[in-house]
């Protein structure tokens, strides 16, 4: 971070090189492949939902984890390729993932403190209890 004046990573494709270029843009093929992969993962997600028993039943550990894993995969794929983090200056990755990590950290902590994991809190079960 200290030597940020350096240029990180691959530089984006210089557009002047491509100006008016008629030949197909090689990255487009990659984009389509990614999209197909994303579609397949989405199908897999839905499949897990439709056949929960193959994953230990809806709401079970393996079920939730496999869904979360596929979700994360899609998330990172879009960010990495479609949003060009792969090719762009790493400082962008850094700026964005600071937000992501911070958000995950604090909100997971909130959910933990509020004991949301594994069933709901007693909250609300007994709104005016005890009178």
């Amino acid at each position: 971070m200290a030597t940020d004046t350096r240029h990180f990573g691959d530089s984006p494709v210089d557009t002047d090189v491509l100006d008016g270029a008629a030949e197909p843009y090689p990255r487009n093929r990659l984009y389509v492949k990614i999209a197909i992969a994303l579609a397949i993962i989405t199908a897999a997600e839905v499949a897990v939902h439709v056949f929960p028993d193959a994953f230990g039943g809806a709401g079970s550990m393996p079920y939730v984890i496999s869904l979360l894993a596929m979700m994360a995969l899609k998330f990172f794929a879009v960010a990495y390729w479609f949003m060009h983090l792969k090719w762009d200056n790493k400082i962008l990755t850094w700026a964005f993932y600071t937000g992501v990590i911070l958000a995950v950290a604090v909100y997971v902590a909130v959910l933990t403190v509020m004991q949301v994991w594994g069933g709901m809190t007693g909250v609300g079960v007994d709104p005016l209890g005890g009178t």
């Binding site: 004046t5 999209a35 709401g59 979700m71 879009v78 949003m83 700026a95 909250v123």
Partner: protein, 207 residues
Amino acid sequence: MADTTVHEVGLDAAAPVAHLDHDTNTGISNTKLGMWLFLGSECLLFGGLITTYLIYKTPLSGPTPEQIFDIPFTSASSFVLLMSSLTMVLAVSAIERGDHHRLRVWLAATAILGSTFVAGQLYEFTAFYREGLGFTTSRFSSAFYTLTGFHGVHVTIGILMLVSLLLWSLRGKLPEHRSETVEVVGLYWHFVDIVWILIFAVVYLIP
């Protein structure tokens, strides 16, 4: 630390694309960096709403998520939104190549896919409402509508931006050297897609 001046490390100053921001210290334009920072901050906004939803997803009365969600329908609209990310990225790559015709095609496609998604969401909301899930029905309904509604508003704003870009381009105001405008709108659009990826899994699929 090497005392390189900015000028030595910036992008090729001769590139037409770079006339605006080629001299930034990081080599990234202000706009793009700004957009990414903004997206980082959006993570905490949506994180807060998702957390709220997770805390409130079991209602004390009224319909439960299991009773109300129509997974096949939502899967289809999720798929639509996902594909709009592809068309978006193709639009960006079109303008970077100077292919203005394709740019317009892909922008229009993205806007149409996005609108389909929003329309689907509106349909879903009315269907839920008819099944007895009003905004004020339960803690679940408030949290659900707020989260998905916020996302829907984001998509709608994205569509407005896409349509504006399209008009700009048609009026000849979107030359290659402003391709970054499209890219930055694209970032926003992909982010909105990413958020839906989370919502789809966390809200709809995981009970």
